[in-house]
């Protein structure tokens, strides 16, 4: 680090801190946040006839199968992100989207229920972030991260395929150094390294007020089933599990092209917890007969950001995606899109000073932050449901009734939004306390108390989860 003396806030005169023709920008990390930032920055710069030089530092070869090319994740491109990218003109072709997802299936020990999208449309995408699991020999699909990075380079960005070792400051400008290289000065450094990297520590030493996000460990496994077998078994649904397995909070099984991805959240996640989940009867029930839970093609234990950074910006620095603020447990790529675009808009139209980021970028981070606090309460309720059998029964009974009898999807809508991350938690939370929902809960109770529900029986039928006619009910 060249200059560690803490600069007084807003030391950069605003006029100097505006980007102009020939300004140089370093983007550290070419995952979704870094690539989308670059794409939108260069797209908007072109609209105002400005020429910018963007270097993306990204060591991962995203086309390679196995861990080297993969930013470990469940690979769900959420309903809202699919829509936003479509409006923005970022086309996700069927080479990238391995499977369109049209429904969620909630599995519990007391039964399962399917919640479908309107018109049976595929509104959610399942992708591989890299070239796929280790044993992929012939690439049939394009890596999602490679696709986004290509969009950025098509706009004129340069990729430097090396890891950044050190970030510093000299003469009021940030510098970036790669192994064996000299520090290079930039007008703006955009940090998009995610959280599975040691470099975040370096930023704490810079005196810019950055403190790393809080993290927790997760587990991901990939199983090869083959395209046809997946079509007949797991299908085009994302399967979510509320099971009373010690230490397990939440689990999902997501169908891709030839593979299914298993994602686990919980306390002290480890391989044993993965094995316990994989051998649960509810999981075996959706997998093909004779499936070997021990035969995973890939396994990893990545970190996830559970409490974002308080100050994800400084003079000529901005932290986007997971290295800054993201959504709790859901739609991390969608949050990366939001923070990336807010940072790009700010840098181009408002400048790169601390003040510009505080006033124009931070509100988006705060909105995500604030919503996460509400999300924590929503997750407390799912935790209770996980422990209370009667509550699980009620959830299954009410949702089935809504789906089968074409009732207004009060609970189905809440569940859909919790699983898919397609609405703010505040919105979901308010609808959880819809009085009509309580009425349905009470009405369902006698049945819940006496009956057992067969876990194989799935309620069919499409439903409208965002029924515009649903009256807004305040909690």
């Amino acid at each position: 680090m060249t200059d560690t003396s803490a600069a007084p806030p807003d030391s950069t005169a605003d006029a100097d801190a505006a980007l102009k023709d020939g300004s140089r920008i370093a983007v550290i990390g070419g995952g979704p946040a870094g690539s989308m930032f670059t794409y939108f920055l260069l797209d908007m710069a072109e609209r105002v006839d400005m020429r910018l030089d963007v270097d993306i530092y990204e060591p991962r070869p995203f086309t390679k199968p196995g861990p080297a090319g993969c930013n470990m994740c469940g690979g769900i491109v959420s309903e809202s992100l699919v829509q936003n990218l479509a409006v923005d003109g970022v086309w996700l072709s069927s080479d990238v989207v391995q499977r369109g997802i049209d429904s969620y299936v909630l599995h519990t020990d007391v039964g399962s229920v399917r919640i479908a999208t309107p018109n049976d449309e595929m509104r959610i995408g399942a992708v591989h972030r890299g070239g796929g699991p280790r044993d992929v020999t012939e690439a049939k699909w394009e890596s999602f991260d490679h696709h986004l990075l290509s969009n950025a380079t098509e706009r004129g960005a340069k990729v430097i395929s090396t890891r950044v070792e050190e970030v510093g400051r000299a003469n009021g400008h940030p510098t970036v150094r790669v192994k064996g290289g000299e520090p290079v000065s930039y007008d703006l450094v955009v940090v998009a390294t995610g959280v599975n990297t040691s470099i975040l520590k370096t930023f704490e030493g810079l005196g810019i007020g950055y403190q790393r996000p809080k993290l927790t460990k997760t587990l991901i496994r990939e199983y090869y089933l083959g395209e046809d077998v997946i079509a007949q078994t797991v299908g085009t649904s994302m399967h979510v599990f509320l099971l009373n397995i010690p230490r397990l909070e939440f689990a999902a099984v997501i169908p891709k092209g030839d593979y299914v991805t298993m994602c686990l959240l919980g306390d002290d996640i480890d391989k044993e917890l993965g094995d316990a989940f994989a051998s649960a009867p509810e999981v075996r029930a959706i997998m093909p007969e004779g499936w070997d839970a021990g035969a995973a093609s890939c396994q990893c234990l990545p970190h996830i950001n559970i409490h974002g950074v308080e100050k994800p910006y400084a003079d000529r620095f901005v932290f986007i995606g997971d290295s800054g603020v993201t959504r709790l447990y859901k739609d991390g790529i969608g949050a990366a899109y939001r923070t990336a675009k807010a940072a790009a808009r700010t840098a181009l139209f408002e400048g790169v000073s601390e003040r510009a980021f505080r006033e124009n970028f931070m509100p988006v981070c705060q909105s995500i932050h604030g919503d996460n606090r509400i999300g924590e309460y929503a997750f407390v309720l799912t935790r209770i449901a996980q422990r209370l059998r009667i509550m699980r029964r009620a959830i299954i009974a009410i949702t089935r009734d809504e789906q089968a009898n074409g009732r207004r999807p009060r609970l189905s809508g809440v569940l859909w939004d919790i699983f898919s991350g397609s609405a703010p938690y505040s919105d979901i939370f308010r609808r959880m306390f819809d009085p009509m929902l309580a009425v349905r809960g009470i009405a369902a109770m006698p049945g819940v108390l006496v009956s057992t529900i067969r876990s194989t029986e799935l309620a069919p039928g499409p439903f409208r989860h965002s029924d515009p006619g649903t009256p807004e009910v305040k909690a």
Partner: protein, 128 residues
């Protein structure tokens, strides 16, 4: 066209939205082509078409009038539906989301201007 991808398939001639209906969605063509036709006095006039990555039916999101034209698949097409609610919420946070919509609308106006000029020329020829 892959069966696994985003959106929904519409067969040749299948109607995506119908003129006169009230709508709260717009559409982005994922694959194939859709045509925009106006129905008047029992016959149809094609007023435009849209291909991959193009937005159609966006007017219903901004003005609250019934659909001004029918949109239907020309050949097999895959189309993604976008909700008004999600779009307006997002545009509130990110006005840049409107850039492409404005671009689309300007292109349409340009096209309309050309058509007006061409029609005027035809009329002049006939009268003159």
């Amino acid at each position: 066209m892959s069966e696994a991808a985003l959106g929904r398939f519409y067969e040749d001639g299948e109607v995506i939205v119908r003129q006169g209906e009230v709508g709260d969605c717009m559409y982005v063509v994922q694959d194939g082509v859709v045509e925009i036709v106006r129905e008047a006095d029992g016959h149809e006039i094609q007023v435009g078409s849209a291909g991959r990555n193009e937005v159609v039916g966006e007017m219903a999101i901004f003005d609250r009038h019934p659909r001004s034209a029918t949109i239907k698949a020309k050949g097999r097409a895959r189309v993604l539906t976008l909700d008004k609610r999600n779009f307006l919420r997002r545009i509130n946070e990110d006005p840049a989301l409107a850039f492409r919509m404005v671009e689309t609308l300007s292109r349409r106006i340009r096209l309309l201007n050309d058509q007006v000029v061409a029609l005027q020329a035809q009329l002049d020829q006939r009268d003159g």
